[in-house]
Every structure is written in C-alpha cells, then in structure tokens.
Symmetry: C2
Subunit: 441 residues, 2 copies
Amino acid sequence: MRGRNGETLALDPQELAKRHPAEVAELLHRLPEKEAVELLRELYKVRAAADSLEEMDPDEAAELLEELPQREATAILSRMEPDDAVDVLEELPRDVVEEILGHLQTLDREKAEILRQLFAYPPDTAGGLMSPEHVALPADITVHEAIERLRRVAAEAETIYYVYVVNEAGRLLGVLSLRDLVFAKPSTRVREIMRPEVVTLRPEMSAEEVAQAFDKYGYLAFPVVDEAGKLLGIVTMDDILDTVILRDTEEMYKMVNVPREERVDTPWYESLRLRLPWLYINLATAFLAASVVGAFEGVIAKISALAIFMPVVAGQGGNAGMQTVTIVTRGIALGEVPPGRALRILAKEVLLGLFNGLAVGFVVGAVAFVWKHNPFLGLVAFLAMVGNMVIAGLVGASIPLGLRALGLDPALASSVILTTFTDTLGFFLLLGLGYMLQGVL
Amino acid sequence: MRGRNGETLALDPQELAKRHPAEVAELLHRLPEKEAVELLRELYKVRAAADSLEEMDPDEAAELLEELPQREATAILSRMEPDDAVDVLEELPRDVVEEILGHLQTLDREKAEILRQLFAYPPDTAGGLMSPEHVALPADITVHEAIERLRRVAAEAETIYYVYVVNEAGRLLGVLSLRDLVFAKPSTRVREIMRPEVVTLRPEMSAEEVAQAFDKYGYLAFPVVDEAGKLLGIVTMDDILDTVILRDTEEMYKMVNVPREERVDTPWYESLRLRLPWLYINLATAFLAASVVGAFEGVIAKISALAIFMPVVAGQGGNAGMQTVTIVTRGIALGEVPPGRALRILAKEVLLGLFNGLAVGFVVGAVAFVWKHNPFLGLVAFLAMVGNMVIAGLVGASIPLGLRALGLDPALASSVILTTFTDTLGFFLLLGLGYMLQGVL
C-alpha cells in the first residue's frame, strides 16, 4: 500500500474484501476523498463497506458516507455494528441523521429503533458507548441448550465470551463466561453456575468512569443496566481503548490549546485555520500582561534591571503552575480526586508553591543581589518569586478543580488561563515592588 | 472503605479474600505503609496476597514487598501471574531481584526460569509485556481432545479465548478462538479449522507499536514469536490498557516536566523533592534568557516600550511552539509519523510558523504603532514576532523528531528545551532589532 503502483494494485474490491477491515480502513484514510468514495461504493457492492467503516475514525467515516447516495449510505450504516453506526451518526448533521433513520425505518424497523435509542445517549457516556448486541439467556435452561442458543446468535453478538442471564422482564440476574459454559456439565442449569454478583454500569456514567472500571477490574466487557436493573447493552474493552486514546489526546491538546480536530497529517492551510484562533486568544491575554508592564514603564526606564527578572519570575510561575495543572487534571481523569478531597489538594499545592517559591526565590534573589550589587533588588526578586509561586499553586489547582465543579471539562484551555494569571500577577508583583522600593533600587 | 471505622471493619483478611482483588489493592494503596504491610502478611496467610498485588501499581507493590521477610516476598511473587511478577521485579533493586530469584530457584525451578527469561526483556517492549501462560496445542488432535486439554489448563492460562496451534518445535502454525472450538464438530481436526494467517508481534517491538496493533485490529490478544516463528508468549488487551494509560500520563508529564513518579495524592514533602529539581533546571534556562535581556539593558533603559513587547513575543512563540510539539509528539506516539515523512512535517510546521507569525505579527505591530505612535516600534515588534514564530515551528517540530532519530523518547522534557529557544531567541530578535533601530525608536 506504499507507492502509487502498490495502491493501484490493491484496489480490486474483491481482493480487499478478504483483507482485515482495519487495513482497508487505512487505505480509505490515505486515499484522496474522491477516490476513497469510489472505492467505498465498490466495497458496498461486495458487502465489505460496513466492516471497513467500523474501523475508521467516525468523523472520517461520516465524511465519506455524506458523499454517497442516501440509499447506499443507509444500507451501509444498517450493516455496521450499532454502537459504531451511532458514532458515525453523531458526526453527521442533524437533518441528514433524521433522513437516514427515516429511510432505515422503512427498510429495517427494528434496527432503526435500536439506533434511535442509542443515538439518544450522549456519545461520551456508557449509554453512547454500549452495543445492544449482547447474548441474554433465561436462567432455567441447561448448559447444553445455552451453547445451542449461542451457536445461533454468535455471528451477530458483539462478544460471546460473556453471556448474561436475565428474567422475563429483562432484569439482569447474573453473568457467565463462555469458559464457564464450556467446562460445565451439559445438563447443569445456567442458574446454578452463573455468578450472581455482577459489576454493572449505568448508561449515564461518563467514558472516564467506564475506562476506570475496565482498568480496575480487568474484565473484557461490562453490562449496562437501567435503574430497575434491566439489561440495556454491553460495553466491550475495544470500545474503551479507542476512547482512552482519544480522551488522552484531547486532554493533552486542551492543556496546550491545540484544536481537537488536528492531527499530524492535517494539511497546513487547515492547521492554520484551526490554530490561529487559539493564538489570537493567547495574544489577547498576552496584551493583558503587557499592559501591566506598560503601566510600570516609568519604573523600568529608571531601573532597567527589573526587565531582566521579568521573564524569570513570570516563566517560573508558569512552569510551576503547569506542573500543578497537569497533575491535578490527570488525577481527575484517572478518578483519583473524589470531590471531598478537592480542598486538601488545593491546600497541598499552595503549600508546595510556598516552599518551591522560597527555594527558587532564594536563588533568584541571590543572583539579583550579586549581579547588580543591590540587596533591595534581591529582596524584590525574592518576594515577587515567592508570591508568584504561591499564586501558581493556587490558580493551577483551582482551574481544573473549579472547571469540574462547574460541570465543565477540567482540561479546558488550562494553559491560557494559568499563564494569564502567572504573567499578569508576576509582572505586577515584581514591578509593583520595584515601584514601591524605587528609592533604594 | 471510607472512614477510619469502615477501614477497621473491613480489615478481616478472611472477608477481604472474598472481595475483588482490585478492591483490596485500592485498600492497600490507601493505608499507611506500615498497616498495608501488616495487612499484606495477613493476606499472605490466607493465600490472597498475590491476586491483590497484581492489581496494584508495580512500584507500590514493590515497596510493600521490600518490607516483607524474603521468604514471604518470594512465595507471593511465585504465585503472581508471571508478567505481573516481572513488572514488580523491574521496580526492585538489582541485588534484591537476584536474591529473590535465587531463592525461588530452590522452591520452583521452572517458575524461576520463566521469570528470568521475561526479566531479560525491557519492560516497555512486547517481550516485557507478554505472559508465557498461553494455551498451545498440536495441529493433529481433534476439537474434542482440544477442549479436554483446555479444561485442564484453564485455571493457569492468562486467556483461553485464543488457542495457539504449534508444531513439535513450538513454531506457531495458526490460531483458533474458543468460539471456533465450541461451535466445531467434536471430531474435526484442529488443523482444519485453525486460521493460518496470524498477526504476530516480535518481542523487541515497543509498547507503542503493541498498543497500535490492538487499536488497529481490535483483537483481545496477540502472540509474540521469535525470528524463527517460535511462540514465546501472548500479550492480552488488559496489559495494554494499563500501558496506554501510563504511556499517555508520562507523555503529558514529560511535556510539562512533571516527575513521572508523582500522583495527585503524593505527600507534599515528596512532591517538593520531586518537582524542585525540574524548577531549578527551568531556572537555569530562564537565566539564559535573562542574560540576553541583561545584554540589552542599555537599550531598554532608553526605549522602555520594548519591555512591554518582551512577554508578548516570547509568550506567543512558546504557545505556538507547544502546539507544534504536542501535535508531532502525539502523532509519533500514535504511529502516524513514519520516518520518511519527518522532513515533510518539519517543512509544514515552518511554513505554518511563517503564516501564523505574519497573522499574529501584524496585530502586534499595529498595536505597537498605535499605542506608541511610532511606526518603527511597530516594525520591530512585527519582525520579531514573525521570526520567533518561524523558530517556534522549526524547533517545536525538530525536538520530538530529533529525539526519536537519536533513539530517545520524543516527549522528553520538550517544554524546557522549546521555551529556552523561543524565549532566548525571541528576546534577542526584539531587543537586537530595537538596538539596531534605536535611532528612530
């Protein structure tokens, strides 16, 4: 699939249909859009389009589907795993979704209903991640009958390694692994060997909480149940691996204000369009810091040595603050910060800011004293450094904790907000103290 | 497990042994070390210590084991899954590892041999992640015989959902899922239903490449083979979920220079000890930038307005550079940057720096002109901004690409290196241009 020739050779849809869908998905990703749409229509004819689209990024899959005639797009979506199909629907304009679901209603009423229900859950919740295609069995059949039933549904189920036992109302009674079934006596009742204590998820749980459950218990799948204990669907580990990678990418991007749509192979003009707004936002906050410097221009003109320590005081505050932001944001994402501990974490970071400030401020103050032979310049640099480090700890912890308390994403634009504080207040402390002590500087 | 009372009540080891090991691991993690060691020894008596340690962070598990008598530590390690046991060994001092393995040799020669072999692979490779406890079957037995064999080894294998078919020399011939076995006729030969085309890993592959394979193919496990095709072990998806979360955490930490050992609940004096060295390194580079400002102190004393634009030029360069660093580092981690594309990515980021610089520089220049009524100050600010943005793109892409080319981790201390360049060169451009044009400023 490397060079031009390789690609042309590999474009026979019959041949491609035999390859792993992930490899076909990679090919679709690399082709120019027009050729990718052509190939997708060819794959559709040999019924291999749905599998490949399941393996693509949902937003890319949606872009390709939008270019197809609606009849073909609907047919492909109806053949995809429902949880993957819904991920693609989330990326399409609302009216296109309604048209497709309306069309699907006439083709496959049941499928349309399933997709509609899944579509109602936000995509970053257990409900949005789950697949309805699990295996549910009654408790009173035998192991032999259970294996027979499994054989019939195996092709359609998302996993058959976990089998769920439910009552007539669909309430979850227990779980069995395929392993349990295979090694049990065929005449045993399912009820006797099922494990009644099941770790379940609720549909409104966040993707983070779901990832934590996988991380903690190491299971391959979890059942999702409503408040009455009715089994709604399952979330499998491969769903969550994608989600974790995407979550972490977005967390890193947000921390340094990179647009979430961008990847390393985004064309440059597209990158420009995406990044420039963030740089302008940064610029606005930089001018806020600059206006503080502007207000003290008279002091700088008299005591130009202060300008030397401006980048040191502001930069160290920014660095220490980003350490705090990163550790707190990551702790929240990994579920290590219960709301009751928020105040203790804030207090710890302020205390750390004080001690880090004393340690760093002492060096900065000493350098200022030795360089310019003025103990008062050393004192100003020391005090500004300590003050800015305390501010960095306070603001660095408050941003993610505060965003979470407001129900927002803790990683949201953290570095812009942080450096606005550490720059503006850092300059204000340094130059303000310089102004007050200008008689002796 | 919340309050003091709850904890005391829950500390009965008999009761704890019935809980999910992940919950016991969480309790061990929250207890003060002395109490955790006590509890571990109690769990050891009821043979429940190994399961809980498997669920802990390896470095924490190692700390607890170091406090135990060597005989108990060795016994617990020998009962852990070998891949988890080796993760713990990696965290122990070399001489302790040798003592433990020597001791284990006398207890369970085979187990000691397995651990020694796994220990030889670096922990962040497929070899270091793999478990030797897979199920391997000859090709000529029947499905019925295969299921009987599975029943015997099921308790010890890491997974029985994939079964590997090997020849007498241990060479991998094909793979079967438990699903294939359960639904095949009992008299069929394994050879007839196995899939001969297996996606395999090599032991020297990096954890990143392994994570990419899981992400791409969506399988639950991959076999690891040597160059002769001999089956060495398997890597399962739950191993890689931990690895991905840890990799992403470390990537974020390195980008902003947070020590990798720190978590949100690290005690403050420990955090101080861990973070302060990074702040001192930052301080050294900040003084480098400050010395540039110091060299131009005379210009600043004459044209104090230049001080206003120092934080703007340096800060924007740092922000734009971190966007580049983050996108390139993340692209490398997700396997989207083949070495042949490195130059194209570098060129793109430099071009972007130029255009972003023109767009941002125009605003900065205009503000400088309007604020200070001096077109030359505007010109200086504009040129310094454009130059620093180009440097930010060049350096921001070169750091991760260069670190990788040197065989180092692309995320290593990226922000310190980047801001050293963007601050130092940003100040140099602004103040140097100011110096050259001081006659008209």
